[in-house]
Symmetry: D3
Subunit: 160 residues, 6 copies
């Protein structure tokens, strides 16, 4: 017996039939953290005011990517999103945190949309800063929270 | 003076002019690692033989995403890729490693293509297994190596 | 206080949360006018019968672009369209008018879809005729009318 | 009087207004058959076990193409799919049959989505095997069955 | 030993490395034939003159699809096309023939682009006529001819 | 005889064969002007500093649209761009000017890419400000200058 719902009786992938799932309000939050040199983070922070806004580009990239999720993740259902937002914050001197919140009213959840948004926003930061810091690493891309749907709410247990 | 080449004189982002860069053979390798429950990794491993192949889907997703990189990363130049490959391996009982290698002959490098490939492949694994393991975390998405281009070769120093 | 709903509390753009807006029937009409040489317009007109139909291509381009609106306009919600149509007419000897009408039943309007349709249809006309008339200018791309939604109906006041 | 609903009063194509059609559960099944050398089919069959899985790639390609249908077929309405599956079987020693089943709850049917899925899956098989068999031919791409919608159910009459 | 070049050493698909192939002028021609009721073909034919042009839409759809080939066929290399054309002709009273010719100067051929063009053009004809003829069948989608590249020229042997 | 090169011998559109054109350095500049209420322009200007940056989003939208040109304009050749930049300036109290400059080394020019960039950037401004000013009008979308290619350089004659 297969526990993975995306696998059909021939052992190949399918887009699961969700016809009988109920439309409910759904929300998901995902997070990615990028570790970089302190100087890189400083450049990003100051660029905001003086020179140019790396995060403004990452913001747009993340939101546009959320809308492309079902084109990127093969077995993902297309979902007309009702809202998407990204927030940035710093954690110490070397970590930039990106959080995305996505909403819909649909039969499937928006976990993948939130995860895609933070992943592509993080890669956009990498792209714009790679000439000064190739060692940047995207850490801990994960689902933080989701609400709505039959499987119930989920809140990630953060490690102590 | 801005150190970030993607910012124009109005403090906004641009796609850098690379007209005067030379066409050279370029290769980049990126890696993502996914931490999951041992049972999840076991399901993926056994699915290969018996029930269905999560990794076959992630493989296709990663290669197709590499070709979409310049649609996803706003300031990234479009690059006709010459080759792309993904490999999977296990690291202990709870970690799946995804590595992507991308090649081109062009004026810009393919770091972003390799990073996009592993990121989307990792999210595809998440999507197909999330019904059994929502805590899966994509760790350490990073550039491993690149060759070609004026800035020279790069090999990531792994932490001891 | 921000009057622009697309800006979040960090001063960056978001896709506005429309979860609480009602689904209503919505329709929008947009228009673009292209000024060109009289000979160019004559070529387009005659091509219809004898040689080939520039406007048939522009028609298809406009309808396909309407469906791509949320991929192009970053903060635009994806909307499953229920109908889209373009019409062409001449205004004097040097002006081609393109009008697009788009319909949906959704929580947000279709103004951007109608505007995208006429903009891309106009650029398609430019593309196909640019070898004979590079001075062609797209004039007055604007919303003509919209109905449905909480903000009420809108009809553009034409200048006397 | 025009019998083709996609043509507007100017003799050009439009995306038909379906605002007044009812949302019903809809399902469509399409089929393509590929004739190839017996050795090619044998390679595909054995690859499954030993060397690599052409059909796994075709499966993913078909499902992703189903989601792209309204981007490919100009007058096709965008439809959020609720499920999609492909199945493969052999017919004699030289024919590979691909069948796709697509489902939605919407105002228009999913015939085109099922047809697009089998067409692109078939071309993917061609692509991966063309170095050993350029004569492969996609035969009989057709709609097999559809249910739901005002025009009623349809079952293809197979030739005796 | 695998005869299928798209399969990597893990038994999964890859986009073959073509770095060492020479850039040559390449051309491919593909063909699809659609069998339909004589009345349907008559509608299409007369629409050209009087009511609207199904084939103009199929033409645009085919050319746009050729440009999307590497997004649709997973292991296909992206190729900047240099030219694409579609032609239609009738074969008896019930068959519409679509032929596409595609050109490039590149390291890989354009067989898949030509095949994608005719496949999507054929589905577009189906879409626009399906309300009057659901039994339409796409027959014989195949490569007719290719030139350029190391594997040499290919001309399909037509069945006597 | 048709003067429009995009029309084939059947009177239908084709993507012109450019195999025999020389690769040269090409650059194009296009411009769009948006007329709006003085208060709207003030909001956009101040948002830059205080509340959020409409133009940062338009900038990204324009550059991403330039890369999508050949997907939007049916007969346009795909061109790997080498650089793209947008600039904004005000003209009096009610007009926002958007200028895009695009570069490539290719066999065809980048006029359409520059025009697409300013058109979509202008629509993005409209989208983000439409809740406060539905009368905004995109005026004068046109090619300003192009260099490179056999047809020679072009500079638009501005009206006195």
């Amino acid at each position: 017996m297969s526990l993975l719902p995306h696998i059909n009786e021939q052992g190949r992938a399918k887009m699961v039939d969700v016809s009988d799932k109920a439309v409910t309000r759904r929300r998901a939050t995902a997070r990615a953290r990028i570790r970089m040199k302190a100087e890189t983070l400083q450049q990003i922070r100051e660029g905001r005011v003086q020179k140019g806004d790396v995060l403004a580009v990452a913001q747009v990239a993340g939101i546009m990517a959320a809308k492309k999720t079902s084109e990127l993740i093969p077995m993902c259902h297309p979902i007309p999103l009702r809202g998407a937002n990204l927030r940035f914050r710093e954690e110490g001197e070397e970590v930039l945190v990106i959080e995305a919140e996505v909403k819909t009213d649909n039969v499937t959840g928006v976990e993948m949309e939130a995860l895609t948004a933070v992943s592509i926003a993080a890669l956009t930061v990498y792209d714009m800063c790679k000439s000064i810091d190739k060692d940047m690493t995207v850490m801990d891309t994960c689902l933080v929270e989701k609400t709505g749907g039959k499987s119930g709410d989920y809140i990630r247990k953060e490690e102590g």
